[in-house]
Protein backbone atom coordinates (compact mmCIF):
# COMPACT_ATOMS: atom_id res chain seq x y z
CA UNK A 1 0.00 0.00 0.00
CA UNK A 2 1.57 3.29 -1.10
CA UNK A 3 1.57 5.78 1.80
CA UNK A 4 -0.25 9.10 1.66
CA UNK A 5 2.19 11.12 3.74
CA UNK A 6 5.27 12.91 2.45
CA UNK A 7 7.59 11.17 4.89
CA UNK A 8 6.46 7.73 3.75
CA UNK A 9 6.88 8.67 0.09
CA UNK A 10 10.37 9.98 0.74
CA UNK A 11 11.35 6.81 2.57
CA UNK A 12 10.18 4.67 -0.31
CA UNK A 13 12.02 6.80 -2.86
CA UNK A 14 15.20 6.38 -0.82
CA UNK A 15 14.97 2.59 -1.18
CA UNK A 16 15.77 2.77 -4.88
CA UNK A 17 19.11 4.46 -5.44
CA UNK A 18 20.45 4.27 -8.98
CA UNK A 19 22.46 1.21 -9.92
CA UNK A 20 26.10 2.00 -10.79
CA UNK A 21 26.09 3.58 -14.30
CA UNK A 22 28.65 1.09 -15.63
CA UNK A 23 26.39 -1.83 -14.75
CA UNK A 24 23.44 -0.21 -16.49
CA UNK A 25 25.49 0.53 -19.58
CA UNK A 26 26.81 -3.03 -19.77
CA UNK A 27 23.26 -4.40 -19.57
CA UNK A 28 22.11 -1.96 -22.24
CA UNK A 29 24.86 -3.18 -24.54
CA UNK A 30 23.63 -6.78 -24.41
CA UNK A 31 21.98 -6.61 -27.85
CA UNK A 32 25.34 -5.66 -29.36
CA UNK A 33 27.01 -8.48 -27.46
CA UNK A 34 24.30 -10.73 -28.80
CA UNK A 35 25.60 -10.03 -32.29
CA UNK A 36 28.76 -11.85 -31.23
CA UNK A 37 26.60 -14.76 -30.17
CA UNK A 38 24.82 -14.82 -33.53
CA UNK A 39 28.19 -14.84 -35.27
CA UNK A 40 29.36 -17.87 -33.26
CA UNK A 41 26.12 -19.76 -33.86
CA UNK A 42 26.27 -19.05 -37.60
CA UNK A 43 29.88 -20.20 -37.78
CA UNK A 44 29.15 -23.36 -35.75
CA UNK A 45 26.41 -24.27 -38.18
CA UNK A 46 28.52 -23.62 -41.26
CA UNK A 47 31.90 -24.95 -40.09
CA UNK A 48 31.94 -28.60 -38.94
CA UNK A 49 35.45 -28.40 -37.49
CA UNK A 50 34.58 -25.34 -35.41
CA UNK A 51 31.37 -27.03 -34.25
CA UNK A 52 33.32 -30.16 -33.23
CA UNK A 53 35.77 -28.04 -31.26
CA UNK A 54 32.87 -26.38 -29.41
CA UNK A 55 31.39 -29.76 -28.54
CA UNK A 56 34.79 -31.03 -27.37
CA UNK A 57 35.46 -28.08 -25.10
CA UNK A 58 33.24 -25.04 -25.28
CA UNK A 59 35.23 -22.58 -23.19
CA UNK A 60 38.60 -23.45 -24.70
CA UNK A 61 37.25 -23.38 -28.26
CA UNK A 62 35.70 -19.97 -27.72
CA UNK A 63 38.84 -18.57 -26.16
CA UNK A 64 40.94 -20.00 -29.03
CA UNK A 65 38.59 -18.32 -31.51
CA UNK A 66 39.03 -14.98 -29.75
CA UNK A 67 35.78 -14.81 -27.79
CA UNK A 68 35.49 -14.09 -24.08
CA UNK A 69 33.77 -17.22 -22.68
CA UNK A 70 31.57 -15.40 -20.14
CA UNK A 71 28.94 -17.33 -18.18
CA UNK A 72 26.21 -15.48 -20.10
CA UNK A 73 27.72 -16.41 -23.47
CA UNK A 74 28.11 -20.08 -22.46
CA UNK A 75 24.54 -20.18 -21.18
CA UNK A 76 23.20 -18.54 -24.33
CA UNK A 77 25.18 -20.86 -26.63
CA UNK A 78 23.95 -23.97 -24.84
CA UNK A 79 20.41 -22.71 -25.31
CA UNK A 80 20.91 -21.94 -28.99
CA UNK A 81 22.99 -25.08 -29.73
CA UNK A 82 21.63 -27.89 -27.56
CA UNK A 83 24.21 -30.33 -28.98
CA UNK A 84 26.80 -28.49 -26.84
CA UNK A 85 25.16 -30.04 -23.77
Amino acid sequence: MVPHDAEGLGELLSLLPPAPPGWVQAAQELPAARLGLDEIVERARADAAFRASLVAGLEDALAAAGYEPSAELLDALRTRLPELG
Binding site: A6, L12, L13, L16, P17, A19, L30, A76
Partner: protein
Protein backbone atom coordinates in the same frame (compact mmCIF):
# COMPACT_ATOMS: atom_id res chain seq x y z
CA UNK B 1 6.81 15.85 -18.57
CA UNK B 2 7.51 12.59 -20.41
CA UNK B 3 5.07 10.51 -22.39
CA UNK B 4 4.33 7.38 -20.40
CA UNK B 5 5.03 4.09 -22.09
CA UNK B 6 3.58 1.15 -20.19
CA UNK B 7 5.70 -1.80 -19.19
CA UNK B 8 3.78 -4.00 -21.63
CA UNK B 9 4.32 -1.57 -24.51
CA UNK B 10 8.01 -1.43 -23.69
CA UNK B 11 8.32 -5.22 -23.69
CA UNK B 12 6.52 -5.36 -27.04
CA UNK B 13 8.98 -2.89 -28.52
CA UNK B 14 11.93 -4.84 -27.14
CA UNK B 15 10.58 -7.98 -28.72
CA UNK B 16 10.29 -6.11 -32.00
CA UNK B 17 14.02 -5.42 -31.77
CA UNK B 18 14.01 -1.69 -30.99
CA UNK B 19 17.38 -0.97 -29.35
CA UNK B 20 16.06 2.19 -27.66
CA UNK B 21 13.32 0.14 -26.01
CA UNK B 22 15.83 -2.28 -24.50
CA UNK B 23 17.83 0.68 -23.17
CA UNK B 24 14.68 2.08 -21.58
CA UNK B 25 13.70 -1.28 -20.10
CA UNK B 26 17.10 -1.66 -18.45
CA UNK B 27 16.95 1.92 -17.21
CA UNK B 28 13.42 1.45 -15.86
CA UNK B 29 14.17 -1.70 -13.87
CA UNK B 30 17.85 -1.27 -13.04
CA UNK B 31 17.20 0.23 -9.60
CA UNK B 32 14.72 -2.49 -8.77
CA UNK B 33 17.05 -5.36 -9.70
CA UNK B 34 19.95 -3.65 -7.93
CA UNK B 35 17.89 -3.08 -4.76
CA UNK B 36 16.68 -6.68 -4.65
CA UNK B 37 20.28 -7.87 -4.78
CA UNK B 38 21.76 -5.48 -2.22
CA UNK B 39 18.81 -4.81 0.10
CA UNK B 40 16.66 -7.94 0.07
CA UNK B 41 19.54 -10.42 -0.26
CA UNK B 42 22.37 -8.23 1.08
CA UNK B 43 24.82 -9.30 -1.61
CA UNK B 44 28.21 -7.61 -1.61
CA UNK B 45 28.75 -5.29 -4.57
CA UNK B 46 30.83 -7.70 -6.67
CA UNK B 47 28.20 -10.45 -6.34
CA UNK B 48 25.41 -7.97 -6.91
CA UNK B 49 27.08 -6.87 -10.14
CA UNK B 50 27.25 -10.47 -11.39
CA UNK B 51 23.61 -11.03 -10.49
CA UNK B 52 22.60 -7.76 -12.17
CA UNK B 53 24.26 -8.71 -15.46
CA UNK B 54 22.99 -12.28 -15.27
CA UNK B 55 19.40 -11.13 -14.73
CA UNK B 56 19.38 -8.76 -17.69
CA UNK B 57 21.19 -11.28 -19.90
CA UNK B 58 18.57 -13.92 -19.07
CA UNK B 59 15.77 -11.42 -19.52
CA UNK B 60 17.11 -10.50 -22.95
CA UNK B 61 17.44 -14.14 -24.01
CA UNK B 62 14.08 -15.22 -22.65
CA UNK B 63 11.90 -12.19 -23.27
CA UNK B 64 10.12 -14.18 -25.97
CA UNK B 65 8.95 -16.71 -23.39
CA UNK B 66 7.18 -14.10 -21.24
CA UNK B 67 3.48 -14.97 -21.60
CA UNK B 68 2.05 -11.68 -20.42
CA UNK B 69 3.99 -8.53 -21.26
CA UNK B 70 2.42 -6.77 -18.27
CA UNK B 71 4.14 -9.27 -15.98
CA UNK B 72 7.64 -8.04 -16.74
CA UNK B 73 8.14 -6.67 -13.23
CA UNK B 74 7.31 -9.84 -11.24
CA UNK B 75 9.17 -11.88 -13.85
CA UNK B 76 12.32 -9.79 -13.38
CA UNK B 77 11.88 -9.98 -9.60
CA UNK B 78 11.73 -13.77 -9.81
CA UNK B 79 14.80 -13.96 -12.07
CA UNK B 80 16.64 -11.76 -9.58
CA UNK B 81 15.55 -13.78 -6.54
CA UNK B 82 16.65 -17.00 -8.19
CA UNK B 83 20.00 -15.54 -9.17
CA UNK B 84 20.57 -14.15 -5.65
CA UNK B 85 19.66 -17.43 -3.95
CA UNK B 86 21.94 -19.38 -6.33
CA UNK B 87 24.76 -16.97 -5.58
CA UNK B 88 24.27 -17.20 -1.80
CA UNK B 89 24.11 -21.00 -1.87
CA UNK B 90 27.18 -21.22 -4.00
CA UNK B 91 29.05 -18.88 -1.60
CA UNK B 92 27.80 -20.85 1.43
CA UNK B 93 29.39 -24.01 0.04
CA UNK B 94 32.75 -22.27 0.24
CA UNK B 95 32.22 -20.58 3.58
CA UNK B 96 29.23 -20.22 5.90
CA UNK B 97 27.33 -17.01 5.23
CA UNK B 98 24.44 -15.13 6.77
CA UNK B 99 21.77 -15.63 4.14
CA UNK B 100 18.72 -13.55 5.11
CA UNK B 101 15.69 -15.69 6.03
CA UNK B 102 13.24 -16.06 3.15
CA UNK B 103 10.49 -14.22 5.07
CA UNK B 104 12.79 -11.27 5.63
CA UNK B 105 13.74 -11.12 1.96
CA UNK B 106 10.05 -11.36 1.01
CA UNK B 107 9.18 -8.44 3.31
CA UNK B 108 11.90 -6.29 1.75
CA UNK B 109 10.73 -7.29 -1.73
CA UNK B 110 7.23 -6.15 -0.87
CA UNK B 111 8.61 -2.79 0.24
CA UNK B 112 10.65 -2.51 -2.95
CA UNK B 113 7.52 -3.11 -5.01
CA UNK B 114 5.86 -0.20 -3.23
CA UNK B 115 8.99 1.86 -3.77
CA UNK B 116 8.90 1.10 -7.49
CA UNK B 117 5.23 2.14 -7.65
CA UNK B 118 6.19 5.47 -6.11
CA UNK B 119 9.22 5.79 -8.36
CA UNK B 120 7.05 5.15 -11.41
CA UNK B 121 4.83 8.00 -10.22
CA UNK B 122 7.80 10.31 -10.75
CA UNK B 123 7.52 9.76 -14.49
CA UNK B 124 4.37 11.86 -14.55
CA UNK B 125 5.96 14.87 -12.83
CA UNK B 126 7.85 17.76 -14.40
CA UNK B 127 11.54 17.22 -15.11
CA UNK B 128 12.39 19.65 -12.28
CA UNK B 129 10.34 17.77 -9.69
CA UNK B 130 11.58 14.39 -10.83
CA UNK B 131 15.17 15.55 -10.66
CA UNK B 132 14.93 17.24 -7.28
CA UNK B 133 13.12 14.33 -5.57
CA UNK B 134 15.44 11.75 -7.06
CA UNK B 135 18.54 13.69 -6.06
CA UNK B 136 17.37 14.30 -2.51
CA UNK B 137 15.85 10.94 -1.61
CA UNK B 138 17.36 8.30 -3.90
CA UNK B 139 20.82 9.84 -4.40
CA UNK B 140 20.99 11.27 -0.88
CA UNK B 141 22.36 14.61 -2.09
CA UNK B 142 22.48 17.65 0.20
CA UNK B 143 20.52 20.87 -0.42
CA UNK B 144 23.79 22.55 -1.35
CA UNK B 145 24.73 19.88 -3.91
CA UNK B 146 21.25 19.95 -5.43
CA UNK B 147 21.26 23.74 -5.51
CA UNK B 148 24.64 23.80 -7.24
CA UNK B 149 23.64 21.14 -9.77
CA UNK B 150 20.30 22.70 -10.66
CA UNK B 151 21.41 26.30 -10.27
CA UNK B 152 18.89 27.00 -7.52
CA UNK B 153 19.35 28.81 -4.18
CA UNK B 154 19.93 26.13 -1.51
CA UNK B 155 17.38 27.88 0.72
CA UNK B 156 14.56 27.09 -1.71
CA UNK B 157 15.26 23.36 -2.03
CA UNK B 158 13.26 22.26 1.03
CA UNK B 159 10.10 24.06 -0.10
CA UNK B 160 10.49 22.71 -3.64
CA UNK B 161 10.86 19.18 -2.29
CA UNK B 162 7.71 19.64 -0.25
CA UNK B 163 5.74 20.96 -3.25
CA UNK B 164 7.00 18.16 -5.48
CA UNK B 165 6.07 15.52 -2.89
CA UNK B 166 2.56 16.98 -2.80
CA UNK B 167 2.34 16.67 -6.58
CA UNK B 168 3.63 13.12 -6.42
CA UNK B 169 1.10 12.21 -3.77
CA UNK B 170 -1.74 13.72 -5.83
CA UNK B 171 -0.58 11.80 -8.84
CA UNK B 172 -0.38 8.50 -6.97
CA UNK B 173 -3.80 9.03 -5.44
CA UNK B 174 -5.20 9.82 -8.88
CA UNK B 175 -3.75 6.58 -10.23
CA UNK B 176 -5.12 4.62 -7.29
CA UNK B 177 -8.61 6.05 -7.75
CA UNK B 178 -8.47 5.36 -11.49
CA UNK B 179 -7.57 1.72 -10.87
CA UNK B 180 -10.04 1.30 -7.98
CA UNK B 181 -13.06 3.54 -8.66
CA UNK B 182 -15.09 1.99 -5.81
Amino acid sequence: MTIEVSDAQLVGRCRAGEPAAWNELVQRFSRYVYAIAVRAYRLPEHDAEDVFQEVFARAYQRLGSLRDDRAIRPWLAQLTRNACVDRLRSAAREQPSDEPPAEEADAVLEQLDEALDVHEGLRGLSDDCREILDRFFARDESYRTIGDALDLPAGTIASRISRCLDKLRERLEGRRMASDPS
